[in-house]
């Protein structure tokens, strides 16, 4: 696809501004009624979903030219999908996120590149991860764990760690905990260790489609040869790319793809995971964008008139993963869940996605701070999420602002409640 193929979508914008707000049915206060970090931070219309479509149209109509200013606006956006979801409350014929992705591809094709993203792609090419860490150390997080390596073992489940979790020392205990939980529940699980690579999703998001395709092919080949039946990941970004991007690129993984929160729910329902220890804690839950609205499975490209597209064929966020993490949380004895105002399909982004953390860290922090304020407004004693990118940006932002709010991965609390020996401290 190319930007020009979305011209009707862009032209279709009525400029109603729904893309700037939480879906109106769900506006609960003045303070937490906005949904788009980009325009909320920078204010010019061009930063909104609608404005970016208009900019795209302006370039297609040769009214303006792509330059560094425009490129920055295009990339000062987490691709969180909130604008798209809000737009699709009313419209069947506009795929806003696709336009945003095409704008980025155009930037790359035109050479309007972001230096930090070039570094990310270089790291990806040389080390197979977005962080520039040594490829050989990718599997070190699992050292000492009695987990199989799928490269020389047959497993039922492959656990995919993802770039952030593989290398972030602060998240290492959580990563090991995911696998310990699976192992202690009797699951025949394996990892790819040092052979695991990036899913390629971040490359796609920042417009480098060739690289994204290469990594998708690599993943597809590994999965095909592994003999696994289920792929489990704890990274919401990877999950979304496996579920949506890969099939969209014609590389649907021939196995069941599950996020760790779904798998934990399954284990609890099957009685394989028993949450017995009380955790008397009031928590609030942050929906990662890529697990929620962006995590919908890809169905098919609608090739007919979009005005007649059935609602079920719209990527409107309805089929994202919202309930499993909540059900896991509320299965923990003593734990109480209090919701923020912006949740589920209309959750506010953590700030880290879409290449923003790498290129525009101030926007990433500002966005995270907004979410932290919302979490604090609930009175919760802790913020829980289930994505390493969200956890990282929340922790970093809290550290900068000296605000005290513990941040947990869902698995941290499950480990404590289940009483898995190495993880009894929260």
């Amino acid at each position: 696809m190319a930007l020009s193929e979305y011209k009707r979508d862009m032209q279709g914008c009525s400029r109603c501004s729904s893309c700037k707000w939480v879906p109106f049915n769900q506006v609960k206060s003045w303070r937490f009624s906005k949904n788009c970090p980009s325009i909320s931070r920078y204010n010019f219309q061009a930063y909104s979903g609608s404005g970016k479509m208009t900019m795209g149209l302006s370039m297609l109509d040769e009214r303006s030219k792509l330059n560094e200013t425009i490129s920055n606006i295009i990339y000062q956006c987490q691709l969180c999908g909130a604008c798209d979801t809000a737009c699709k409350v009313y419209r069947d014929d506009i795929d806003l996120t696709e336009v945003l992705l095409e704008l980025r591809a155009k930037c790359v094709e035109s050479g309007e590149l972001i230096i930090e993203h070039m570094a990310l792609i270089d790291a990806l090419k040389s080390e197979g991860n977005t962080l520039g860490e040594p490829k050989g150390k990718r599997g070190e997080w699992a050292d000492g764990l009695k987990v199989k390596n799928i490269n020389n073992n047959t497993c039922e489940v492959l656990f995919h760690a993802g770039c952030r979790s593989s290398y972030d020392p602060d998240l290492r205990d959580t990563m090991r905990g995911h696998v310990e939980l699976l192992l202690s529940s009797g699951i025949n699980v394996g990892i790819a260790g040092a052979e695991e690579s990036c899913c390629g999703g971040r490359a796609y998001e920042i417009g480098y489609r060739g690289e994204a395709r290469n990594y998708a092919e690599d993943m597809l080949s590994r999965v095909k040869s592994s003999g696994i039946s289920t792929l489990v990941t704890s990274c919401a970004d990877c999950y979304a790319h496996f579920q949506y991007l890969y099939p969209r690129m014609g590389m649907k993984l021939p196995v069941k793809v599950m996020h760790i929160s779904q798998y934990l729910e399954k284990l609890i329902l099957e009685g394989k995971l028993n949450l017995r220890h009380k955790i008397p804690l009031l928590v609030t839950y942050h929906d990662p964008c890529h697990l929620g609205r962006m995590g919908e499975p890809f169905l098919t490209d609608w090739t007919g008139d979009k005005l007649l597209r059935p609602m079920r064929m719209k990527r409107a966020g309805r089929m994202g993963i919202y309930d499993p993490p909540r059900k896991v949380l509320t299965s923990i004895p003593g734990l109480e869940l209090v919701e923020m105002e912006r949740i589920r399909e209309y959750s506010w982004c953590c700030g880290a996605g879409g290449g923003v953390l790498e290129a525009f860290p101030d926007l990433a922090s500002w966005t995270a701070q907004e979410r932290i304020s919302e979490a604090l407004a609930t009175g919760a004693e802790a913020l829980v999420t289930t994505c390493p990118w969200c956890e990282r940006i929340f922790r970093d932002t809290l550290a900068k602002t000296n605000v005290s709010l513990p941040v947990y991965d869902l698995t941290d609390l499950v480990l404590k409640s289940a009483g898995v020996p190495e993880h009894t401290k929260v």
């Binding site: 010019f44 061009a46 208009t54 425009i70 009313y90």
Partner: protein, 534 residues
């Protein structure tokens, strides 16, 4: 082009991060598909966009405009072609950073807001203290300040909460001269509670019937009258719109009232007004309902002539919602409605019993989140008439509107909506009412966008020939030239007001006083760039 000197002065006034002259950024303000009649949807591009955060910054911007002979146009939530720029030397003042609810006075039932507060925000906060705000027809996304001070302002809660122009109290207003004028009680340092004093009462000058669409300066704050809300402080709503589920409190009821003919339909509406019942009242246009909720079904229906006729026969219907403080009050309203419907040979359907439809629709009506669904069928709509008149006059116009539309439907220029797409409701207990005949089209379809100008002319001619009051058209340069001489030379007086307030050379006057000939095969709107004025 803006000169570097002028740009630098604006930068100094508001900070470099709050001004831009980048073409692609400014094009974000030059795409307005709503209400357009021009196949080229692009409007004139401003020469710069500024984002002030205070009244002082607004004044500084206007001073720069005066110094460099530039014009300005105020812009808040900015939806519709009237929000766009009409001249080639205009600084667009985007008021997005002025976005606070400054006060909600529960006892005196008003709120003080800035320009970029949206209806949903104000309603959400007002409901927490048992109050509600009037919502306009464009939905709950637009700015209540904008509709109160600067443009239109009607909505389906009009029977209970009137219309925006009647709800505005104290006002803080930066005139085109740069001076600050405070209206109503605010003008005598007595607070925000009253629009008519003590202090200057200039609401008629400020907005008249339609308002000045930004030509008379910049409104930086205003107080709005709030109304009783007998519902929960924060209704529990699951879902985003058509999938919404809400547990509706038992002190609410929603009815559909259907009448055998136009006369009975009107008579019943008058009686409802006289009885002073109802919280929301709006004509149920079957075509509009289908186009928004079930566009696929509407498309199929348009090929079924017998069914279309059957639906046409039951087209004289409206919905009415009750919101009562007690069971006795609710019983009284239901009893009165039942009697009125019976006396007018109507049929009463209790929608409250039709679940889950009621659970979805109730909050859509109260929150006013439904209106943008009108874009779902084809992506755009336009309207004929748009008048504020007595209900009988509206019913008369409604028939004319249907006739106008039918031939354009037959021609394929607009969607076949069964010719029943009237947006029509009472104001203030039936003393007057509003009516627009909507027609849906796809502005990406060359045939359809090409016909819109002609359809507009058709409606204008019918308006003129039948002495229907010009309403929403009044801000359009061609309509102004056509109708002003027929209606007390209103534009003559508007020009005097503009002159008195110093706006002639500094405001973008396109949608307030400019006039244009209604040419054959040309846009009714003053779209092509005008000269930069005196």
């Amino acid at each position: 082009m803006i000169s570097d000197e002028a740009y630098r002065e604006l930068e100094n006034a508001i900070g470099p991060e709050n001004i831009s002259r980048e073409p692609a950024i400014m094009d974000g303000y030059a795409w307005q598909a709503l209400e357009t009649t021009d196949p080229d949807i692009w409007t004139t591009r401003p020469i710069a966009v500024v984002l002030p955060s205070s009244i002082e910054e607004v004044q500084a911007i206007i001073e720069v405009c005066k110094k460099y002979r530039l014009r300005f146009k105020a812009f808040s939530t900015g939806w519709g072609v009237h929000a766009s720029v009409g001249y080639e030397n205009v600084i667009l003042i985007d008021l997005r950073r002025m976005n606070r609810i400054l006060e909600i006075d529960e006892k005196n039932m008003y709120a003080v807001i800035e320009p970029y507060v949206c209806g949903a925000q104000l309603q959400a906060e007002a409901m927490k203290v048992g109050l509600n705000t009037h919502m306009i027809g464009a939905g709950c996304g637009p700015s209540p300040l904008a509709s109160a001070t600067s443009f239109q302002g009607m909505g389906w809660d009009g029977i209970y909460m009137s219309t925006s122009g009647r709800n505005v109290l104290g006002v803080e207003w930066v005139l085109p001269s740069g001076e600050v004028l405070r209206l109503g009680s605010l003008g005598s340092d007595s607070g925000w509670f009253c629009g008519d004093g003590p202090g200057p009462s200039l609401r008629g000058i400020m907005r008249g019937a339609i308002a000045a669409v930004g030509s008379l300066g910049v409104f930086t704050k205003c107080a709005l009258k709030l109304f009783n809300w007998p519902g929960p402080p924060q209704p529990e709503v699951k879902g985003l719109l058509l999938d919404a589920k809400t547990k509706v409190a038992s002190n609410f009821k929603l009815y559909l009232c259907t009448f055998p003919d136009r006369e009975k339909f009107s008579d019943a509406a008058y009686k409802i007004g006289e009885a002073e019942i109802g919280y929301i009242q709006v004509k149920n246009a079957i075509g509009l309902m289908l186009a928004t909720m079930m566009p696929h079904l509407l498309k199929k229906l348009s090929r079924a002539d017998a069914l279309k006729k059957a639906l046409g026969a039951i087209g004289h219907q409206f919905m009415i919602m009750f919101a009562a403080h007690s069971q006795n009050e609710l019983d009284y309203q239901m009893k009165v409605l039942s009697q009125i419907v019976s006396e007018n040979q109507g049929v009463l359907l209790d929608i409250s019993q039709i679940r889950p439809f009621y659970e979805t629709f109730w909050w859509g009506l109260v929150r006013n989140s439904i209106p943008p669904l009108i874009f779902r069928a084809l992506g755009n709509f336009h309207l004929g008439f748009g008048t504020d008149e007595s209900f009988d006059s509206q019913s008369f116009a409604k028939k004319l509107g249907e006739d106008v539309k039918e031939k354009w439907i037959a021609d394929g220029a607009i969607l076949d909506d069964l010719s029943d797409n009237a947006w029509m409701f009472l104001y203030e207990n039936g003393m007057w009412s509003h009516y627009e005949e909507l027609f849906l089209f796809d502005h990406r379809n060359p045939k359809q966008i090409g016909a819109i100008s002609s359809i507009n002319k058709n409606f204008l001619q019918v308006t003129k020939d039948n002495n229907i009051c010009v309403g929403l058209y009044a801000h359009e340069p061609a309509a102004r030239k056509m109708f002003s001489p027929l209606q007390g030379n209103y534009n003559h007086w508007q020009k005097k007001i503009l002159h008195m307030l110093g706006g002639e050379s500094v405001s973008d006057t396109t949608y307030y006083t400019d006039e244009k000939d209604l040419l054959q095969n040309a846009s009714m709107f003053c779209r092509e760039s005008l000269s930069s004025g005196p």
